[in-house]
C-alpha cells in the first residue's frame, strides 16, 4: 500500500521560508498570491494490504516522528495506483 503524508505548519506558526518564497514569486511577476505556506510530503510504501491498518500505522508514524505536533499538522491518504 502506497501512502502520502503531508506535514504542514499550523496556521498560527510563523513560516519565514513560506514568506520568502511568496515574495520571490511576487517579484517574478506572479501577482495576487494571498498566502503561501511551505510543508513536507512523505511517500511511504507499506507491506500492508488493509487500507485502514496502513493509514493508522502512518498516523502513528506522524505522531511519533514525522510531525512535531507543537507546530505542525499532518494528513495521511492512500494513493491508488
Amino acid at each position: 500500500m502506497k501512502l502520502q503524508v503531508i506535514v504542514t505548519l499550523k496556521k498560527d506558526v510563523l513560516d519565514p521560508q513560506g514568506s520568502a518564497i511568496k515574495s520571490s514569486l511576487s517579484n517574478m511577476g506572479f501577482k495576487n498570491i494571498e498566502s503561501l505556506r511551505q510543508g513536507k510530503t512523505f511517500e511511504i510504501i507499506l507491506k500492508e494490504k488493509d487500507e485502514k491498518a496502513a493509514l493508522s500505522k502512518a498516523k502513528d508514524m506522524c505522531e511519533k516522528l514525522l510531525a512535531n505536533l507543537t507546530i505542525e499538522d499532518y494528513s495521511v491518504r492512500a494513493i491508488k495506483e
Binding site: 519565514p16 516522528l65 512535531n68 507543537t70 507546530i71
Partner: protein, 224 residues
Amino acid sequence: MKASVIVFPGSNCDRDVRISLEKFGIKTSMVWHADVKLPKSDLVVLPGGFSYGDYLRCGSIASKSRIMKEVIAHSKKGGSVMGICNGFQILVESQLLPGVLIKNINLKFICKNITVKVINNKTNFTSKISRNSVLEIPIAHNEGNYFASKNLIDELEDNNQIILQYCDAAGNITEQSNPNGSIKNIAGIVNKKGNVFGLMPHPERASDELLSGMDGSLIFKSLK
C-alpha cells in the same frame, strides 16, 4: 561529580564541552548514541552540532536514538541534563523541555557573540551567577527561534522557567537584541522540575581566556 556527553553522528561540540567540564573538575565520559547503557552520571550533556545532518527537523532523529531512552529515564529520576544548541533542539524534540525551536526569523545562520541576561539563578545550572547579570557568549545556529503557545509562555514565566534572555550589553531585553525572533527573547529554559536545562548559546566556547572570554565558564562552575 560525573558527567556523560552524548555523541551523535554530526555532533561537533562534544569534545569542547568535555574540555570545559573537565577544566572545572567534572569527570567526563563520552557516550555513543547507539549505546544502550548510560554510565553512572550526575549530569548528561547533549552537545551542539548537526546530529543526523539536521534531517527531518533539527534534533528529531537524535531524540529517538537508543541512548535517549536512558537519558529520559535519568531525567525522570531527577538527574541533571543540559542541552546546548543542537542539544536544546534534541531536548524539545524528546519533550523533556516544552516548546520548539524553529528557523531564525531572518532565515540566516547566525554565528556571533551575543549577550544574555540571567533571569533565574536558583537552578543547578546558574547558581554561581548573580541574578540579572549579563553574560557574553557566542551563538551559532540556524534554528534557534524559540516558539511556544501563549499559555505555555505564561506557564514558563509563572514557574520561573525562563533562565536566559537575549539582551543588549546594558542588560535591556529589547527587540534589537533578539538575534533570532525567539518569543520573549528566550535563550534558555528549564523544565518544571528544574533538572533539565536547554540553551542556544555555547558556554563551552566562552570558557577559556585565550578564546572568547570566560563568561560561559560561570555555567560550568555552577553545575552541581
